[in-house]
Subunit: 683 residues, 2 copies
C-alpha cells in the first residue's frame, strides 16, 4: 500500500487526480470516453447503460492483497446499446487500451427501460386516437387529454406479443387538477406501447367498464393540507448535531469507520454496491464480505383478472434501482452531518449525466450498545452505540424504496428497507366487490394485493473466500420426556444442514425453528468455541412467493422460489433474473435457476460461494396506506457468530462505568436534560 | 371532565394534591397506609408485594366515559404477605374505606422472590460448611470464601422438594478480584436454600467435577479496558437537543402526544402498564387498547443434564420486572429531553421504597415518515417522523432487558425489547465437549442454549370492547395455472380464520404465510374498505417453545405453547402463568391453560377479549456475546388496518413539499450540514 499511497500523494502534488480505485463507478469522463470509442466503430446507437465492468474477482483479490506488485485492473466499461430495428448490443470497452474488447448482437432480449424511455410514453398516449376514444367512453372528453397521465411499466411478458418487440404497458390515470394525485383516479384500460415505432399497438379494455372516479381529490402535498385546515403545530424540533464532525474518514470511495472499511460503489441497476468489506480486529484486518448488493426485486400483484397478471415489476432488472434513485436533500432525507456521493450515468444520446447526492452517508445514535448492573452492589457499565448508515432512495413509479445499509460497532451489518410512496391503484365501480384481490382504499380506488420481494446478493469472504453455508434450525434434543438422556424434555440444540452443492442449496424459511443461515469458513476455527468463524443471516420477513408454481411470475422470477440459493462464485453471475429482464418468458427461467441447472452438482462446500436471499413482505392494502403510505420498515441482519473471540466493541467509551471497588468513569452526555412537559392543568 | 378538572384546580389552589387517577400506581403514602391497616389486624408478617388492585373494568369503563357522574373507583391495595411458617396471605385493602376487604391464607403456593430475598442467600452460602467443603474440592480454599458469589434463582420446580418449602437455587461463581466478572468463573455445584430456615438444605453436585477456572479475567468495565490499552478515541459525539422542549404534555400520569393519549402505570410484576390508549382521529377520540403490558416471560435453558433443567426463569412471575427495574441516568440510558417517573414498592418490613427514574419517556427522530416523488416533474413531498418512547430496563441477575413501548405518528404501537447484559454460564473442564447444549464462549466457560420467551398481554379496545381476533395468512387463490379463474397463477388473498372460542383460539406462527393476527371490531366498518376496523399484530420473532410436550417447562409455561391464545375478558386474569409462579409443578398448568380448560366453549367472538402473544428468540451463545453482550433487538408492531379512512399523519409538517403547479413548502432542517470527513491522503 505504500507505493499506492505515494502515487496518490504524487498525483496530488502534480495536480493530476489519482487513478480511480478499480471498484469506483465510471466517472462522467470515463463514460463519455467509452461512448467515443464505440462511436468510432458503430453508429446509429442509443445507449441503454454504461457501467463499470467490475474487475474479475481473482485478478482483483490479487491486487487488493498487494497493490504495489500487482498490475492494476483495467478500467472496463460494460455497455448496453440499442441500434436500428431494436437490435441490442452488449459490449465491453477497455478504457486503458482505448478499444472495444467485446461486441455482440444479442438476439431476443430487451434491455431495461430507462427514465427517458418512460417519459416518452405519456406524450404519445395523450395523442393516440384509440386512447382518446377509450377516455371518452369512461367520461374524459378530448379537451381533457392533457389531464390524462400514465405510468409506463415494462410489459413483463405477454405471450400475444413475445419478446422481439420492445413494449411498455401504460397504467392510466387522470388528474382533475395538475396538483391532484392521479392515483385517486385510475383508468380502467391499458394501452400497449411499441418503443420502436413509438405507437400504441393495442389497448386492453375490460369487459365491465369503470367510468373515471367522481370522488373528490385525495391529496397530501403541503397546499392541500393547508387548505384542509393546516398542519399540526405541536411537534417540537429534535436537533441532531455533530459539533466535532463525523467519525469516519474517506479515501476516495473507501470509508473507514469504527473498525469497518468498505468501498462504496453504485451502478444503474443495483444502486449501492459495497465491496471488500473488512473489520479491523485489534490490528488484524479481516475480510468479511467481498460484495453486498440488492441484486433484484419482483413485485407480483395478486389479482387474477386480465391484464393485472402483467403487474409484477422487476424494479432493478427492468428499470434499475440506480437509474431511479433520488437526489437527496440535506435535512430532509437524512439529518446531522451528511456526506454525499453523486452517481454518473450515460443518457440515451451517449452523454454523461449525474444525479447529485445519490448516496447519503451519515451516523446516528443507536441507543444502548451494552449495559449490565450487578444487583449486589449496583456497579454498572452502560455504553451507547453509534451506527453508520449508507443509503439511497429510489422511486419506482408509484412506490419509494429507501435502502439503508447499516454498519454497527459490534460487527453486525444490517440492511433496512423502508417502503413508502403510493399504492398502485386500479379503477372500481361504486359497489363493486374487489373479491378479496384488493381493497377499496378510497371510494372508487382498488389497491391490489401484492408482494415486495427483494433478492440480496451476498458474496461472503469470511476470513477468506473459501466458505460454506449451513441452514440452522433450533431443534429439540433426542430422548422422550422421562428418558435418561432428556428426563425433563428441555434439551435443544442448533441443527445444521450443509448446503453442499448448487442443486441442493435451496432452503425455504421456517419461522417456528427460528431458521437462520450461517456463512462460515471451515478452515478457520474460533479458538474458544472450536466452531468455524461465521456470519449468520438473520432475516424474519421471508414470505413464500405466492404466485403458483408453473405460473408466469414463478417462471420469470426463479430467484424468488426459495429464500436461499447458494452458487459457486462466477464472475458472470450478478443478476439473479438474468442480465436483460424485460419480456423474458421464464422458459427457461433466466439467472439463478439456469445457473444451477447448468451444474447442479457443483460443490458449494469450502469454496468461493455466493448466497442469494429472497425476502420481503406481502402487502394487503388498507385505507391507512393512502393517499401516501407511512413508511413500512423491513430489516435483516448479518451477525458475527464465532467470528470474534469476544464482544468486539468493548473499547467503545462507556457513558458511565463503576466497579465494586469504588472507581468510576463518567462521560455522561451533559446535553441531555430533564424534560419539563406542560401539565394540562397548569396551562 | 369539567367537574374533574375543577376538582383538580381546586385541590391545586387549596394546596391539597389532586386525587390519584384510578390507574395510578399506589403512592408511598398509600402503600404505608395499606400496611398500617393490615397491621391493625395481623402481625408477624413480612411483605412480598403491595400494588394497585386495578379497578374492575366495567366500573372503570363507566368512570372513564363520564367521570363527573360516576363514582370514582376506590383505591384498593393488592397485598401478598408472608407470615410465620411461610404462610402466604393474599389480601385486598380498600384505602378509601380504610379496611381489609379480602384476606385469605393461600396454601401450597410460593410468591415471587424479591431482591431482598435474593440478597440474603449469598451471605448464608459463604458461611455454609457444606458449601465451603464443595469449594475446597474444586480449588477454592476456605480463606477465599469472600470471593464466592451466587445468583440465587427460584428453584423453578424440583419434585424432590415440592412446593411447600420456599426454596432458591444458588448458581455459584467466583471472583479472583472484587472487580472481576464472576461469570467467567462459574462453579460446578448448586446449593438449595430454604428461605424459612435460612439454611442450605441440599447441594447438587455433578458426577464429573470441574475445578474453578484458571483463565485470566475477562472484564469489560472502564478500568479493565483502560488497562488493556484504553478506549478508542475516534467516535465523535452526536448531540441530540430539543431547544423548544418536548412535544408531549402530562396530566398526572396521562401522556398526550401526537393524537395519542395513554395512562402510564407501573407495577412490581409487569413493569410498565399502558392503559386506556386512545387516538384522536380528527377530533374523534377513539379507543384502541384498554391495556398493554408484558405479562410474563420464561427463559428455558437447553442442557438436559441435571440440574440445568431447573434453569427456566419466569422473570416477571418469579422475580418481577418492576422490582428488578433500573434507576435510569440522564444521557446514559436515554438521550435528549427526558421525562422520568419513579416507582414505589413495599419492602419486606412494610416500608415504602422508591426506585427513582424507573420509567423514561422521551422522543426520537424516526427518519422518513413518508415520501413520494413524481417522476415526471420531480414534485416531491418528504416528511420526517418523530416517535415517543416509554421505556424501562430491568436486570434479571445476569441479563438486562430493555423494554421500549414506542408510539408512532401513523397510529402504530411498537414494542421493542433489547437484550443485553451477561450470559448465564456454567463450568467446563479443559477439552470438555459441550455436546451441542452450549458453547464455550471463553476458556472454561460454557454458555448454555436458551430461549427468551415473552408473553405480551393485549386487551384490545378497537373502537370499543367488543372485538374479535382473526388469524390471517397470505394464501394462494383457487384455480390451477391455466384455469379461467387463475390463468397465470398469480391470484392471492388474505385468508382469515376466526378465533371464535377460548378452546379453539390457539394459533401458532407461520413465517411462510406472513401470518399476522387481526383484532377487529366487527360492529364498526371502515366506510371505504367495508372491512371491520382493526389493529394487526405483526410479530416475526416467534419461535416454538423448544422444551418438549409433557416436560417440565412445557407444563409450567403453558402460555408459551402457542404464539396466540385468546380469552374472554376476566378481571382476575392478568398473569398467564398464574398469580404465584415459583415452585408450581405445572400439574395443572396455571394461568392460561387453566382458564381456557375451565370454559373452552366460551365465545371470544364480538365480545370483550384479551389476546396473549408469546414471542422471543432462541439464543445459541457465541464468544461475541461475552463478557457482556451487545444489545440484540427484537420488535413487534400493532398496526392500524382499516381503522382510519386515510393515512392519519398527513398533517405532520413536511420538511419539503413542492407541487407540479410550482408552489413549494420548505421547512428543511437547517442544522444539518454537509460532512467534511478527513481524507486519509490529506492527513
Ligand atoms: Co406495497
Ligand atoms: Co440470551
Amino acid at each position: 500500500m505504500v507505493l499506492e499511497r505515494l502515487k496518490q500523494v504524487a498525483s496530488h502534488v502534480t495536480g493530476q487526480s489519482p487513478p480511480p480505485h478499480p471498484f469506483d463507478p465510471l466517472s462522467e469522463v470515463e463514460i463519455e470516453k467509452a461512448v467515443a470509442i464505440i462511436r468510432k466503430e458503430h453508429d446509429g446507437l442509443f445507449f441503454n447503460a454504461i457501467t463499470l465492468w467490475e474487475p474479475r474477482k481473482s485478478e482483483m483479490m490479487k491486487w487488493v492483497a498487494d497493490p504495489d506488485h500487482t498490475p492494476r485492473p483495467h478500467r472496463i466499461a460494460d455497455v448496453v446499446a440499442i441500434g436500428r430495428g431494436s437490435k441490442v448490443y452488449d459490449g465491453h470497452v477497455d478504457l486503458n487500451e482505448e478499444k472495444i474488447v467485446h461486441w455482440e448482437l444479442t438476439e431476443g432480449v430487451q434491455p431495461l427501460i430507462t427514465m427517458e424511455d418512460l417519459q416518452i410514453v405519456e406524450t404519445i398516449v395523450r395523442k393516440d386516437p384509440k386512447v382518446i376514444e377509450q377516455c371518452g367512453l369512461i367520461g374524459i372528453p378530448p379537451e381533457d387529454m392533457h389531464k390524462v397521465y400514465c405510468d409506463p411499466w415494462t410489459i413483463g411478458y405477454d405471450e400475444r406479443f413475445g419478446s422481439n418487440i420492445r413494449l411498455q404497458q401504460a397504467l392510466m390515470y387522470f388528474r382533475p387538477h395538475v396538483d391532484d394525485s392521479q392515483y385517486s383516479y385510475p383508468l380502467d384500460f391499458c394501452p400497449i406501447f411499441n418503443a420502436d415505432t413509438q405507437e400504441i399497438i393495442h389497448i386492453d379494455v375490460p369487459k365491465v367498464r369503470r367510468p373515471v372516479n367522481k370522488a373528490p381529490p385525495n391529496n397530501y402535498h403541503a397546499a392541500a393540507i393547508e387548505a384542509e385546515g393546516g398542519f399540526r403545530t405541536d411537534i417540537k424540533p429534535i436537533e441532531i448535531t455533530q459539533p466535532e464532525g463525523v467519525s469516519f474518514t474517506m479515501e476516495g470511495r473507501i470509508i473507514n469507520w469504527q473498525n469497518w472499511r468498505v468501498h462504496v460503489g453504485f451502478n444503474y441497476r443495483e444502486g449501492i454496491v459495497l465491496s471488500n468489506i473488512t473489520f479491523n480486529d485489534k490490528g488484524n484486518v479481516r475480510p468479511v464480505f467481498w460484495r453486498l448488493s440488492l441484486a433484484e426485486m419482483v413485485v407480483p400483484y395478486g389479482n387474477p383478472e386480465h391484464p393485472h397478471h402483467r403487474k409484477h415489476a422487476f424494479d432493478l432488472g427492468e428499470y434499475g434501482g440506480g437509474y431511479m434513485t433520488n437526489s437527496l436533500s440535506l435535512g430532509c432525507d437524512c439529518k446531522g452531518a451528511i456526506y454525499y456521493m453523486d452517481a454518473a450515468f450515460v443518457n440515451r444520446a451517449g452523454a454523461a449525466t449525474t444525479i447529485k447526492n445519490a448516496i447519503c452517508i451519515h451516523e446516528e445514535d443507536a441507543g444502548i450498545l451494552f449495559k449490565h448492573t450487578d444487583f449486589r452492589d449496583d456497579s454498572v457499565t452502560v455504553t451507547r452505540a453509534h451506527k453508520l448508515v449508507i443509503s439511497h432512495i429510489f422511486t419506482a413509479a408509484n412506490y419509494e424504496y429507501c435502502v439503508y445499509w447499516i454498519f454497527h460497532q459490534d460487527g453486525t451489518v444490517q440492511l433496512e428497507i423502508k417502503l413508502t410512496g403510493i399504492l398502485n391503484t386500479y379503477a372500481m365501480n361504486p359497489g363493486e366487490d374487489p373479491q378479496g384481490w384488493g381493497t377499496e382504499v378510497y371510494p372508487g380506488v382498488n389497491a391490489h394485493n401484492h408482494q415486495h420481494l427483494f433478492c440480496l446478493r451476498v458474496d461472503p469472504n469470511i476470513d477468506g473466500p473459501s466458505n460454506t453455508v449451513f441452514e440452522v434450525d433450533a431443534a429439540r434434543g433426542p430422548g422422550e420426556v422421562g428418558s435418561a438422556e432428556n428426563k425433563y424434555g428441555n434439551a435443544f440444540y442448533a441443527k445444521k444442514k450443509k448446503l453442499a452443492t448448487q442443486g441442493s442449496s435451496m432452503s425455504d424459511y421456517n419461522g417456528a425453528t427460528s431458521r437462520t443461515w450461517e456463512m462460515c469458513n471451515p478452515n478457520k476455527i474460533n479458538p474458544y468455541s472450536h466452531k468455524p468463524v461465521s456470519y449468520k443471516l438473520v432475516s424474519r420477513e421471508v414470505p413464500e412467493l405466492l404466485p403458483k408454481e408453473g405460473g408466469l411470475v414463478w417462471k420469470r422470477a426463479g430467484f424468488a422460489r426459495h429464500a436461499i440459493h447458494v452458487t459457486k462464485y462466477d464472475d458472470a453471475q450478478i443478476h439473479p433474473a438474468g442480465r436483460h429482464v424485460p419480456q423474458t418468458s421464464g422458459v427457461p427461467s433466466m439467472g439463478l435457476p439456469a445457473w444451477i441447472a447448468a451444474d447442479p452438482d457443483a460443490s458449494t462446500d469450502n469454496t468461493d460461494v455466493v448466497l442469494w436471499h429472497t425476502f420481503g413482505i406481502t402487502h394487503f392494502p388498507s385505507p391507512e396506506d393512502f393517499p401516501v403510505m407511512p413508511a413500512e420498515p423491513m430489516t435483516l441482519l448479518l451477525r458475527p457468530r464465532n467470528f470474534f473471540t469476544r464482544n468486539p466493541c468493548l473499547d467503545v467509551p462507556p457513558s458511565y462505568s463503576s466497579y465494586p471497588s469504588g472507581g468510576k468513569w463518567d462521560k455522561t452526555d451533559r446535553k441531555s436534560v430533564s424534560a419539563k412537559p406542560k401539565d394540562c392543568c397548569s396551562k
